[in-house]
């Protein structure tokens, strides 16, 4: 079914889905938003792959090969790509492992950790390989906008989407960038 609605895709990479939860904090404003927006690939629709979209919202940083594939799919299909939240912008909590070598992390988790049974580092081809470090999105693809916060508030999601839908350059008020 063809519509004139703006197509929006969302995904979470190395993140906690907290940004998506916050997205839902738009509450009843989501109803109004759906008048203008149609969701493509997103945990909300369970669509597995992106079609060409207008806006892509990506939560989480990049910790493994699959994250890179998904991010590239978003970049290739979305006219506007937005890095959403601390992990997408800076690496966030998952990037705390960057203080260690990836080898140390795997050894701790699968070989030497407390309560490890049958110690071995997983090698199933189904499992995506970890990158040596966790990276923010803009180190692997071009990013158009950054929506900061851990997570960004529902108001901030609403503000950036409203601006884009109205064809304005997105701009967040100071209060939306003040976190304490």
């Amino acid at each position: 079914m063809m519509t004139n609605k703006v197509r929006v895709a969302t995904t979470s990479l190395a993140g906690c889905f907290g940004c998506h939860m916050s997205f839902l904090d738009m509450d009843e404003r989501l109803v109004g938003l759906l008048e203008h927006v149609e969701f493509d690939r997103s945990p909300l629709t369970d669509i597995k792959h992106c079609q060409p979209c207008d806006i892509g919202l990506v939560e989480g940083g990049l910790c493994n090969a699959e994250n890179v594939h998904v991010l590239r799919e978003f970049r290739n299909n979305c006219k506007i790509l937005i890095a959403v939240g601390a992990c997408a912008i800076n690496g966030g909590v998952p990037a705390m492992r960057n203080h260690y070598e990836v080898q140390e992390c795997l050894q701790e988790a699968y070989l030497n950790g407390v309560g490890v049974d049958n110690p071995m580092i997983p090698s199933d081809p189904e499992l995506p390989l970890l990158l040596s470090k966790v990276h923010p999105l803009h180190e692997v693809v071009r990013v158009d906008y950054y929506l900061p916060g851990c997570p960004p508030s529902g108001d901030a999601f609403y503000a950036i989407l409203s601006d884009l839908l109205a064809g304005r350059e997105p701009s967040l008020s100071k209060t939306m960038l003040h976190y304490d």
Partner: protein, 589 residues
């Protein structure tokens, strides 16, 4: 510190003849053990009655202190564009079979780099256990390597290696006619403190550190401020890369400096002064101590100075430990108070709330020297030189691609071109005026004047000839700021390493127009949002490069929309090996 103020002896009184101070204690420990063992930190904590957390934060803040052992011979190569040559560092690493930053297993030697050590007129230089070796070349490196391998004590090394001989090519107002000892003080007593400050104001003297605040006003504000004590502090933390004029003043004109400080003390009613010397100049300590002793013997310091009843003033020396930020006056005061050198929130300014919260005048070495001359010779003598807004003269430290690197004293208002002609720089494509935090001047602008109203400078003039790669120069500066950021505010702490990352990417040929735009956006943000002068100027080199030398950046860019920051497939190498995989999914194109 309290003990010192009360004039009581501190248990560990004499550390190299310096006053009891956390930085001095830590330095002595670092000398003895080549690092600061935890046990020693605890002892210092008890001796100085400071919390252990404060001791440890100070150790981690200053680059000359370490928690892991450095070599018995600790070598730090300057990485400045004028007195640094890291190719020589790598050469010596090979000769001594040691990796940069990692102490050799026998503990004999460690080699690393450090920010500019102020030897810019002497070519490539290094610090070895607090002493300076300049004019480095392959021959000298071999000599150094042999001495180290044979464990020869530094005192028995050829003294020639340590010789430092700075050329003064042009003398002006201050350097031409040395001041007779005590003459400024005699003049000050005659004037009285009110008239003295008026004289300074009339002279138009402005701070020589670079910011250019009117000295007479600073002294007046401080004098008017209420406080149990007033303090005079001399900022000799000459850390701006390319600057070495204070080193010359401290070497040859220390009497005039101390006379200026004493005049200030008289004007303010201060009894205690401090000279904060950068750690890189530690080799000057015996000389400075000697001058102070002479002045005490001549009644130019101490009680009832020159017979002036009730005028008591003395000066102590405090030596830093490798932190550029301590050149910022409020960071310097923090360091003086035995803390990390983190800039304070201003206002209140040091003139009302300075050292230990008391009214304090902090001035540059050259400012005090000029003040002494002015009080002795009068405001008009000074004001007759320079420009309307920039009275008097300025000492310039000139280095880089010229035939006569050294000290030049010019009346303010001299053009860049004139300076270049005098120092034998015929093929300059650009001049960095005022150090990395200053201005990168294109040759079309060489007609501009050195003065507060045009090109302000603390004295650093670095010249870059046609063969220099300006992107490498700016990259060097950007690395410098990222290294020296004190970490207090986010725009600078996070921003400067990000700028470094973008510039490294562009320099390596992986940058795109998108990276350049992002870098420019970030540069403006760092400049606008940082807490102190370091962050506010850290992006200047990048912004100047993009504005005046756009082709330098342009020719390095890839002509494609985007390029990742790292090699994606290589980032999977470790986990490929750990999981013994080599299937298609184990690779990223």
């Amino acid at each position: 510190m309290q003990q010192l103020l009360q004039g009581e002896p501190c248990p560990d009184q004499a550390v190299n003849g310096l006053m009891p101070h956390l930085l001095h204690q830590l330095h002595a420990i670092q000398q003895q053990y080549r690092y600061i063992p935890t046990q020693q930190s605890k002892q210092v904590s008890e001796t100085l009655q400071l919390p252990l957390a404060q001791i440890e934060s100070v150790i981690d803040f200053y680059s000359f202190f370490t928690r892991t052992p450095r070599g018995q011979y600790t070598l730090l190569f300057s990485n400045c564009t004028s007195c640094g040559d890291l190719a020589l560092m790598r050469e010596l690493c090979q000769l001594l079979k040691v990796e940069q930053g990692i102490t050799r297993t026998d503990g004999l030697v460690s080699i690393d780099e450090t920010s500019c050590i102020g030897m810019c007129d002497h070519g490539a230089s290094l610090l070895i256990n607090d002493r300076v070796i300049a004019h480095l070349d392959s021959t000298r490196l071999k000599q150094i390597a042999e001495y180290i391998e044979s464990k020869t004590p530094l005192d028995q090394w050829s003294p020639e290696l340590f010789s430092i001989n700075t050329q003064i090519y042009k003398k002006g107002l201050l350097l031409e006619q040395p001041l007779e000892q005590g003459s400024a003080l005699t003049a000050a007593f005659k004037l009285g403190s009110d008239a003295l400050i008026q004289t300074l104001k009339q002279s138009g003297l402005r701070g020589r550190g670079g910011a250019g605040f009117t000295t007479g006003m600073k002294w007046e504000f401080c004098r008017q401020a209420q406080g149990a004590q007033h303090y005079v502090v001399c900022n000799a933390d000459e850390g701006e890369p390319g600057t070495f004029k204070d080193r010359i003043l401290l070497t040859d004109h220390a009497h005039e400096l101390f006379e200026g400080m004493t005049v200030a003390a008289y004007a303010l009613g201060a009894q205690q002064g401090y000279l904060y010397l950068r750690g890189e100049y530690r080799y000057l300590v015996p000389h400075i101590q000697q001058v102070l002793t002479e002045r005490r013997q001549q009644q130019l310091l101490g009680q009832n100075i020159l017979g002036q009843q009730g005028f008591t003033f003395d000066i102590e020396l405090v030596v830093g430990a490798g932190a550029y930020i301590c050149g910022e006056e409020s960071a310097l005061l923090e360091s003086l108070e035995q803390k990390r050198g983190v800039p304070r929130i201003r206002p209140p300014f040091p003139v009302t709330h300075g050292y230990l919260g008391q009214p304090t005048v902090v001035n540059n070495v050259e400012t005090f020297v000029a003040a002494a001359h002015i009080v002795s010779k009068g405001a008009n003598w000074f004001k007759a030189h320079g420009t309307e807004q920039s009275a008097g003269s300025k000492l310039l430290s000139i280095s880089g691609d010229c035939t006569k690197a050294g000290i030049y004293e010019y009346a303010f208002g001299v053009t860049v071109q004139q300076v270049l002609d005098d120092c034998g720089a015929s093929d300059a494509q650009a001049v960095q005026v005022g150090g990395p935090s200053g201005t990168l001047v294109h040759r079309k602008d060489f007609g501009r004047q050195l003065a507060f109203e045009d090109l302000a400078t603390g004295g650093s003039i670095m010249i870059y000839g046609q063969q220099r790669d300006l992107l490498k120069v700016v990259r060097n500066f950007t690395h410098f700021f990222a290294h020296e950021s004190c970490g207090f505010c986010t725009p600078c702490r996070v921003g400067t390493p990000l700028l470094r990352k973008y510039l490294d990417k562009i320099e390596a040929g992986h940058g795109t127009a998108y990276d350049r735009e992002e870098m420019a956006r970030l540069a403006k943000l760092v400049k606008k949002r940082s807490h102190c002068g370091l962050g506010q100027t850290a992006a200047n080199p990048i912004l100047d490069l993009l504005e005046h030398f756009p082709h330098v950046c342009e020719q390095r860019l890839l002509h494609q929309e985007y390029e990742p920051f790292f090699n994606l497939d290589a980032a999977l190498e470790t986990t490929r090996q750990l999981s013994h995989r080599d299937d298609a999914e184990a690779h990223l194109a």
